[in-house]
Symmetry: C2
Subunit: 136 residues, 2 copies
DNA sequence: TTTGAACCTTCCCATAGTGGTAAGGTCAAG
DNA sequence: CTTGACCTTACCACTATGGGAAGGTTCAAA
């Protein structure tokens, strides 16, 4: 059994976030010592590691909640896991699209701005324009 | 002079956000009618439009604060505007990098998951792994 | 004139994820 | 017994946005 700071180091999460995940019900409340200190078993360390991996792939807390349930269900169908992952991939695609549009527009503006001592600047001009920015 | 809902429609922002931008000091407090209703002048409508355009390019409130100052300064150097935009471009690049890494890892996992009735699933397996996810 | 719809106001709460800090308890070593 | 490093809970902050409640205003229709 490890204390929370050890569990944090081991899992790559912060103590703060481990408590938070417990607060929001992502993980079961940890066992406590007589003094009230949280104690983590090896199985819980695995779970915390799982959570960190999932977070690093951009899964939301809600999605991780589902992933943990699938993980703990020996009768799961990998289809469900794959679907969840594919849905997240679509979200990532969507975010990329948004960023790419911003990038394209901004790169265009930057390319057309002299960037010298003169106050004339297409960036300011086009942002001031009543026209659209290119987003539908 | 327009009321806030008209200013919202005109600028493409919500009334809610216009009040918020006033709260955080992004725009000057609007004039008020005797009854306390906010009133917006054409110049303020321009400013709101500017803010919406800048937001649609992903500029943060803090960055827009700077952009507005440059916009209102007739003795600005376009160099400053360009630098601000370039810094934001770098941030966009950074975000894209993160998303791309997630995307690549997740695509790999998804490709290797059968997605059938069997419980065997590399996605679950690799998230459960103590190893790294590919992020440094 | 009264009433009702459609506005407006402020204030609080929620989202998602993370960090910080403060006030206090615990434990082990010196 | 003190000190330092840990733990606890309970707040507040951030970004940007939305929702809603409780109450005031405006204007038109009946």
């Amino acid at each position: 059994m490890m204390r929370i700071s050890e569990a944090a180091q081991h899992s790559g999460l912060s103590s703060k976030m481990i408590r938070h995940y417990e607060d929001v019900g992502l993980i079961q409340p940890a066992a406590r010592t007589e003094a009230g200190y949280r104690q983590y078993s090896p199985a819980q360390l695995d779970q915390l590691g799982f959570i960190r991996h999932a977070r690093s792939l951009g899964f939301s807390i809600a999605q991780i909640r589902d992933l943990l349930q699938l993980r703990d269900n020996p009768r799961r169908a990998s289809r469900e896991v794959k679907q969840l992952a594919q849905k997240h991939l679509q979200e990532l695609d969507q975010q990329m699209l948004v960023l790419k549009k911003m990038q394209a527009m901004l790169e265009d503006l930057v390319a057309r701005c002299a960037g010298d001592d003169s106050p004339d600047c297409v960036i300011i001009d086009e942002l001031s324009d009543s026209g659209e920015t290119g987003n539908e």
